[in-house]
Symmetry: C2
Subunit: 420 residues, 2 copies
């Protein structure tokens, strides 16, 4: 087999451990120097491929690449950019092939969520449609944990650990203040359509550390009267109550309770603000003193409290993706397969990409308690292993040390410019 | 000297390490069993003293008391409750003495901030005015870092570590997204009148990890046009910009930019929401895509990322408070004295309480850069040592294990009830 180069890109919202996947891709490729020439990363994701703005990862030292394992976010830049169908957007696909041909890219490794899986699937069909030999492998990554087939998604375990830890800590705070001050604490978390992160907030409350807690899932239509009654009951009984609310909470008309009024590049509404909205509702109707927090990027970038399990899985999918590519497996995605809950055991399997692309895995109803405000034992059994293990980054002068790569550009070979 | 009991109470907003102070008070008192009978804690702070709702800390095991060192918030409950002057509120003070006499309290250890120092000072005068022998010692605690005399305040170093870490992580996230999505990230932090926490956000940016960052201090009047110009310049130059904004940011009329419309028990306006306000300003005026976070209680309860230096100092002031009380030092506060910046060395000194009560230590102007948006080398030299060292709590199943005490009530001795 001829030696060819690999293209790797990060897509969509970043996570605390997506760079661990990048690390695995580069480290594994370096172990197969006889088969893979260089790993070129797209600067700002797929945009880098379209504009021939490639990063030569071979310029990075082994130490710098290894430091990606403890560095959050996307080391090469990510992008919110979705390619339309081959029919609709043929010019973009042809440009991709033009760039890949110029740089002898034989392997396309795309690290993202649902939308990216769809893009990767389309690219995987190019080999056939446009006659350019290319193996496309999708590498799972999303804090939303909403990819199909895979048992969980790298990035989720760490955000789960962050939100559960944060809610537990805040609950201790509120409990201290409740006698004369704050009685209700609201934490808004990410998860536009799927309530996985909201469910993870529920782990803050357990047998050893019970916490009066209500969860507002995007899967459950918000019922104001029912929520206020449940909340008031908890405050009366325990003196305080905590609320974990999804940014994607919807009303009976199916509308998001709070919309920032802007949309992202994919046309998704950009949310934020349902936390303060719920808090002010509590104040108006129940007159309880409240505090609210919106964790936003802090939750998905929180490498300092990453899950070791999540980190290991993020690395494993990166390694597997390179191996699958070398084995010529086109249009697949390494998936995490759960072998058992107790003890938690997992392995890497292979998912056909057409079963993953554009499918959203919502939180099953059986993971939500009958009243709609909590998580079941089944949810706990699923979620709990994903948070396990600590993997603190190195610290200097009291702060985590995160690496910035040199990100040296690959010399351009094409005369043509392209504006995506 | 006769053996007498000690009363300990937590007051005001809690911190990640105030329980380490409680631990020190109890452990140190247990080492002086010949002089101190029991440590009674006020359930919900001073309210517990007024209502004769005392907690017998002798019922807690050594292991449980030790676990307070890694448990955030107030283990006995705190209170936002300020006593007026002796003239105005004589009944409350007489009630305190009545309760203290009934339980043979000889030592009053009050763990709080500015308002609490004032209460403690008043209590210290009771011995003379009401003829009851009592030694009152204030123990410093506030995330706001605004107490006079002491070089810093236990609780601050940990919140500083949290906000600097969080901003650094979020900056990596924004940098990844900036090409096609978020260009401005706003983090709102605590600090109603003093910009110490805002200044700590500035540590996210350093020589090894430069970050385009603007800080909005409560000490600097908000100048919208100047801010927007500075922000736009950073975005144009670096592709993105982060903003750390104090909840107490004020406009030219001296008014808080955002008020929740409610006030706490001390009559302070309860703030929150200046973060989203700044973000929407950026969107309207500059059209940049933005994200914002409000850390709220997460920042002050974040024991998982506490500063070891802060933890050590929180313990040291608790230990010293008991020793000062035993030495009969009335109306004082153990203070942290900085001996040198490099290497950072400190010791515990003694502050007269009348120099501390109701005095607010603002961020010096020389700690803020000339343009008003950053911190100086002097600020870094002061702040940096306070964040140093990690002191992770124990984890189980991926989450920190925090202790809840039994909090057994001391049998009441008084027939009279009292409603504060």
């Amino acid at each position: 087999m001829p030696k060819r180069n690999a293209f790797y890109a990060q897509s969509g919202g970043v996570t605390a451990v997506v760079n661990a996947t990048a690390c695995a891709v580069i480290e594994t490729a370096r172990k197969h120097r006889n088969r893979i020439g260089k790993v070129y990363a797209g600067r700002n994701g797929i945009i880098g491929a379209l504009t021939e703005d490639l990063i030569d990862t071979s310029k990075e030292s082994a130490a710098a690449v290894s430091a990606l394992k403890h560095t959050p976010a996307g080391a090469f830049g990510s992008a919110r950019y979705k390619l339309a169908s081959l029919d609709k957007d043929r010019a973009q696909y042809e440009r991709l092939i033009e760039v890949f041909r110029a740089h002898d890219i034989g392997y396309f490794l795309y690290n993202g969520g649902n939308d990216s899986a769809d893009t990767c699937l389309k690219v995987s069909q190019l080999s056939q449609h446009l006659g350019y030999p290319l193996v496309a492998v999708h590498v799972p990554k999303t804090v939303d944990n909403d990819l199909a087939v895979t048992d969980c998604c790298p990035g989720f375990g760490s955000v789960a650990k962050y939100v559960a830890t944060s809610m537990r800590e805040a609950a201790f705070d509120v409990a201290s203040m409740a006698k004369t001050s704050t009685r209700v604490f609201v934490l808004e978390v990410m998860g536009r359509h799927a309530g996985w992160i909201t469910a993870a907030v529920g782990l803050a409350d357990d047998a050893e550390t019970p916490i009066p807690l209500l969860l507002l899932f995007p899967e459950i239509t918000f019922d104001e009267a029912k929520f206020l009654a449940a909340l008031d009951e908890k405050v009366k009984r325990f003196g305080y109550c905590c609320v974990g609310v999804s940014e994607g909470l919807r009303n009976a008309e199916g509308k998001f309770l709070s919309e920032a009024g802007t949309t992202d590049a994919f046309g998704h509404a950009q949310l934020g603000g349902v936390g303060p909205l719920i808090a002010s509702l509590v104040k108006e109707r129940l007159k309880h003193k409240y505090h609210w927090a919106v964790a936003d990027y802090l939750q998905r970038a929180a490498r300092h409290i990453a899950s070791k399990t999540d980190l290991d899985q993020a690395y494993a999918v990166g390694k597997s993706a390179v191996e699958l590519a070398l084995a010529g497996k086109n249009a697949v995605m390494p998936a995490i397969v759960r072998l058992s809950d107790k003890p938690y055991r997992w392995k890497i399997g292979v998912a056909p990409l057409d079963k993953v692309a554009n499918v959203e895995k919502r939180l099953p109803r059986e993971y939500i308690t009958a009243d709609g405000f909590g998580i079941t034992a089944k949810a706990r059994a699923y979620l709990s292993p994903l948070l396990r293990g600590e993997a603190f980054p190195p610290f200097r002068d009291g702060l985590p040390r995160y690496v910035r790569l040199k990100n040296v550009s690959v010399p351009r070979k094409l005369a043509t410019e392209f504006t995506p």
